[in-house]
């Protein structure tokens, strides 16, 4: 499997990484400006995983993804429109979930995003179900579940990986090991050095990969996806990465050892890919700046658009709870 991707794919990945980065930087500002409320979890620094993952997913074939509250990058990389996401972040009716979900609950079936799950570990069992549908129907579709390094500690994670292994489901379990679960370093709460070490308990293959290098992550995921499609069951992929910002809006990340952030920033996923493209003559410094500026402008435009979008109507509050179903559609105030 070649690790050097074509120029077009590289360009797309780079563009998407810039889009994610600019979007999240803007989101943080919007939080400080009180335009976005609640909480949010930024993936700045982790963008390579998102764009590599998205290259493997084909929603038209039925591929699906579940991820966590740290899902803006995955959603955008999969192709959720920036409009849809920004409006959702602000609780506007034009958001992907009509403003009802918010930052932690993005979903877009059209791009294969079943949902971003806010309860740790809750997405993996659901990914299994999507993989089960693919297995039953023989569609060749896969389902990817993305989670953090703190997540393997929870029971739902274990049960899901286990069931996928027993049933040889076409699933891929993708860990973004960003070194921390909230404010606690990985090694304080895990008994094994690597998340990948857990795979032995399920008799499934695992791979540790440089999560800052989209071109390293991509072939690993592609192989895992191929294995899944071939009926050989799930793979556990551990991408080593780092979040530049705190866990969530309210976290200044004072727990970082000195210099840690700076060391990781030297291996910035955008710079790595951009640098390689420049070395390969696929991108000039000026083009890179223009691309960045273009994304920045796009984010700016969409932000303003979203700010002017309407709120959902108040009657929306109790809508969408019940699926219409035969006679008893609209059980409404129900119980």
């Amino acid at each position: 499997m070649s690790t050097s991707l074509g120029a077009a794919v590289r360009h797309k990945m780079l563009t998407n990484m810039l889009l994610v980065r600019q979007t999240e930087e803007r989101i943080q500002e919007l939080f400080l400006e009180n335009v976005i409320r609640g909480t949010t979890h930024l993936c700045i620094g982790q963008e390579a995983v998102s764009v590599a993952m998205a290259e493997v997913v084909d929603a038209a074939r039925g591929d699906t993804v579940t991820c966590t509250y740290r899902g803006h990058g995955h959603a955008l990389a999969l192709g959720m429109s920036l409009e849809s996401m920004m409006a959702e972040m602000m609780g506007k009716v034009s958001g992907c979930s009509k403003g009802k979900g918010g930052s932690m609950h993005l979903a877009d079936l059209d791009v294969g995003l079943l949902g971003t799950f806010a309860v740790v570990g809750a997405g993996l069992p659901v990914t299994n179900g999507a993989a089960l549908t693919a297995q039953m129907r023989g569609t060749g579709a896969i389902s990817i579940s993305i989670f953090g390094d703190g997540t393997p500690n929870i029971g739902a994670w274990h049960e899901a990986v286990n069931l996928a292994a027993v049933w040889k489901l076409p699933a891929v379990f993708l860990c973004e090991n960003n070194r921390y679960g909230e404010y606690t370093p990985y090694e304080d709460t895990a008994p094994v050095p690597n998340v990948a070490d857990r795979a032995a308990a399920y008799g499934i293959p695992s791979v540790i990969v440089d999560g800052q290098d989209a071109e390293a992550v991509y072939p690993v995921l592609l192989e895992a996806a191929d294995r899944a499609r071939a009926g050989d069951g799930p793979t556990l992929v551990e991408a080593l990465t780092y979040r530049y910002r705190g866990h969530s809006r309210s976290d200044p990340a004072t727990y970082r050892p000195e210099g840690e952030l700076e060391r990781w920033m030297e291996r910035d996923p955008i710079n790595i890919l951009a640098g390689r493209m420049q070395a390969d003559g696929q991108l000039t410094a000026a083009e890179f700046e223009a691309l960045r500026e273009q994304q920045r402008a796009e984010v700016q435009r969409v932000t303003e658009w979203a700010m002017n979008e309407p709120w959902p109507a108040l009657e929306e509050t109790l809508e969408d709870i019940w699926a219409p179903s035969g006679d008893d559609a609209g059980v409404g105030e129900g119980a």
Partner: protein, 326 residues
């Protein structure tokens, strides 16, 4: 009318729905090759094969999650959690995920999932295998909750549940599996959700009960009839949606209300029925409303204690008398 057991009704419903729609799949612990620990699902594995009828590891989170994910992507899974008490190990997947995914996605998603479990006391199963757990689910909008208590209602509601586009909690009473009853012969007996059944008519007091407590209420009604008190016994059959119309109409007529639950008092459906009546029909009440429940009790193993804790006809008679007293 054929006569069959509640047990037979479950397997017939599943069989009919699996035959009708190949997106219906069924999985859970020991439900396949072994036909289920309550022997409720024999023959399905043999008929539909190990792909559509699957034995799972003991992993309730994984079971429910797989049901949710399969439902979201187009299947109509039926899953079994065996004893309803075990739903507690996976409540998150049920009340935070299955129930809310549709809402949180702004209506993009639907979760046509049926979650079967066996609840209630069956004599000596102890504190962790005898509970009625409907309260956990009633409190989570997005879930429908079925509590059928006859073979016909099990058959008709389970088929409706499978066809429903919402996640449905389907609670069978394990103490009733061997009970027999008539079931319509025609091929496709459906019972709609949200329609109570008036099991016995009467003008003096309204008794609302489900599952095994319907029988208890009927026994009490017999005793009371001898004393000249005519009870109207209503079985809501589903708790979400809840047919308050039928109940309210009855209370308007009788002026008296007693609820009979095989569950802990606080948080039960009885309180919901009572509260809705007191909010919307208070002037029709001619006496205190009385709930017969387990109180704040835990189900003991020892036979006399268990029987003492469980509502019996004499408890219902006493409750009715109290409600008529004032």
């Amino acid at each position: 009318m054929a006569v069959m057991t509640c047990r037979d009704a479950v397997v017939r419903a599943l069989d009919e729905e699996m035959a009708r729609d190949e997106d219906v799949i069924f999985f859970g612990e020991d439900v396949g090759k072994a036909g289920g620990v309550f022997k409720v699902t024999p023959g399905l594995y043999e008929k539909y094969g190990g792909r559509r009828v699957r034995d799972t590891p003991i992993s309730e989170n994984a079971i429910v999650g797989a049901g949710v994910g399969a439902a979201v992507t187009g299947m109509r899974p039926v899953i079994e959690l065996m004893f309803a008490d075990f739903a507690a190990v996976t409540l998150d997947q049920i009340v935070n995920q299955a129930a809310k995914l549709r809402y949180m996605s702004g209506g993009q998603i639907q979760v046509p999932l049926t979650i079967r479990m066996a609840q209630g006391s069956a004599g000596g199963f102890g504190s962790q295998h005898s509970q009625c757990c409907e309260s956990w689910f009633m409190h989570a909008p997005g879930l429908k909750v079925c509590v059928p208590g006859t073979p016909a209602d099990i058959l008709g509601l389970l088929k409706s549940a499978v066809r429903d586009d919402n996640p449905v909690i389907f609670l069978e009473h394990k103490g009733q599996y061997a009970e027999r009853g008539e079931v319509p012969d025609h091929a496709d007996h459906l019972v709609p959700m949200g329609e109570a059944r008036v099991v016995r008519e009467g003008g003096d007091v309204t008794i609302v009960a489900v599952q095994r407590m319907v029988g208890v209420a009927l026994k009490a009604a017999d005793t009371l009839a001898e004393q000249g008190v005519e009870c109207e016994v209503i079985d809501p059959r589903t708790l979400v949606p809840l047919d308050m119309e039928t109940i309210a109409r009855s209370v308007e007529k009788t002026g008296h209300l007693v609820t009979v639950e095989e569950a802990v008092r606080a948080g039960g459906w009885g309180a919901e029925v009572v509260s809705q009546i007191t909010e919307n029909n208070i002037w029709s009440l001619e006496g205190p409303v009385v709930r017969v429940t387990l109180g704040a009790g835990i189900i003991p193993f020892s036979q006399p204690l268990e029987e003492h804790l469980l509502p019996g006809p004499e408890d219902v008679v006493a409750a009715v008398q109290r409600s008529l007293e004032a």
